[in-house]
Symmetry: C2
Subunit: 280 residues, 2 copies
């Protein structure tokens, strides 16, 4: 399993975010055009207020297992759209091409990572069913609006993600561990962070754990399994949300013959607005 920072453009220890500081003002359409043209990098903070999603495409004969895995593990895998087999478009993003419009992809064969291209047209198959799964980047806007600092955005890094010791509920041939994202939250902002994310259950909802990372079997917060290490403030509490990279971990563990996913932190920008997924 990939063990350390997989920011595509990391230089030495310091990740370089190629998405610029004006990216929050991009429209989702403009963001997709830029990514289609070759721009890479984590999408946290891009296209303010628009819903970002995880992508996982599996052969049609694995689609039921994947949909059931998501249904049985709704915190890490809230499904926002499922395509018909072979389709490269989504109802969530007008004019988008799912094969080209993400910054970077991962291609998997028998559970092994075999390529990390910026375009997967050469890898696409007519029997692929694509799942678009809610992403915690979506609720970061709500947290920001409520005054909660987002450390990884402040530091220009990808969010850190960790494979936990908790197993997901299996479904058919699919099993694997829960993956979480972590944000250090100052104590005075913890209530707002929990409240605001709770009201967005379609993008992972409330945290699954706060505080001591050992409770999730995480040994060292400084060494995330995906994304970048992030620096916490002195009193910050680590807050863990279920993460849409979980289906990728299920691919690694369960070894379907073929799959395509997004690269962690490099999401698909939809036209949907976060507010659409807010329940109250």
């Amino acid at each position: 399993m990939a063990a350390t920072g997989d920011n595509a453009a990391a230089v030495g220890d310091r990740p370089v975010v190629l998405v610029d500081e004006h990216a929050h003002a991009w429209s989702p359409h403009a963001a997709r055009e830029r990514f289609r043209a070759g721009l890479i990098g984590p999408t946290a903070g891009v296209a303010a207020g628009h819903t970002q999603v995880n992508l996982i495409a599996v052969p049609a004969d694995w689609a039921y297992d994947m949909l059931l895995f998501c249904q049985r593990n709704p915190k890490p895998c809230p499904v926002l759209d499922v395509t018909d087999a072979g389709s490269v478009t989504s109802a969530l993003a007008e004019g988008a091409d799912l094969r080209t419009d993400l910054p970077r992809y991962r291609v998997w064969q028998d559970g092994e990572l075999v390529a990390e291209p910026a375009d997967v047209r050469a890898h696409w198959r007519a029997d692929l069913v694509t799942f678009l799964i809610g992403c915690s980047f979506t609720f970061e806007w709500a947290l920001t609006a409520a005054g909660v600092p987002i450390r990884h955005i402040e530091q220009g890094r990808n969010v850190p993600m960790y494979v936990t010791s908790r197993q997901c509920r299996p479904a058919g041939r699919l099993h694997g561990p829960l993956v979480v994202s972590m944000r250090p939250v100052p104590p005075q902002h913890l209530s707002a962070a929990i409240r605001e994310s709770s009201l967005l259950p379609a993008v992972h909802g409330a945290p699954v754990h706060c505080g001591e990372p050992g409770g999730l079997g995480i040994e060292d917060l400084g060494r995330p399994d995906f994304g970048d290490r992030v620096d916490a403030g002195p009193d910050d509490i680590p807050v863990f949300w279920a993460c849409g990279v979980t289906p990728q971990a299920a691919v690694m563990a369960s070894r379907p013959p073929f799959a395509i996913t997004h690269a962690p932190g490099q999401m698909f920008l939809t036209d949907a607005r976060d507010e659409q997924y807010r329940v109250a």
Copy 2:
């Protein structure tokens, strides 16, 4: 399509609710034992605070279409559990038998209702996959706690349900109209009714419509398609929630070769507590 009150024990115009007035204090286990022993009737108000669910079982080769239909229509079809093919148990109710523990079932062949037994052991097939879908009876406890009167419980009737003119998003071979349940709500309680149900998205969440029933293509509130007519107070506003009978309407419209469902309003009592599905 069945057009009028289908309370199993209706006598003339006045439905008779066989579930007694102490039923709110039953445990879910005790309720299931009584239904297994032959008790019938709507389950609104039974086993306070415990989650009730709609049931629909389809042959395994229709399971993906059904799961996708539910994913694409999450307001009427929030899936709380899916069994493995042939299983008659659910993680949501210890020791329960899905073939016997509901008050009454409906058996469908090619989209036609062919039987309404209190026990479906004689109809069961080894290839059936059972979907348990959130039910609005669940949020009635939250509404009651917030002071909202529940007219159909006051009147000892089943909740009225209506087939609307809104079509669900189709999935594979499945299509059909949105079905809604209706509760008349006094104006001073409308905010609480919306707020409390909104926080329970896994059991239909916020209403889909309030007021003028013509907006949903409903011609006469006094003639529900399922359940019983309910008497509204003079200033009550009709409030419509997406309803878990929607998959049954999809069965009627799409005509899969075989299906088993609950009878409308006569739900499966799980051990889960409503609070588990509350997001904030």
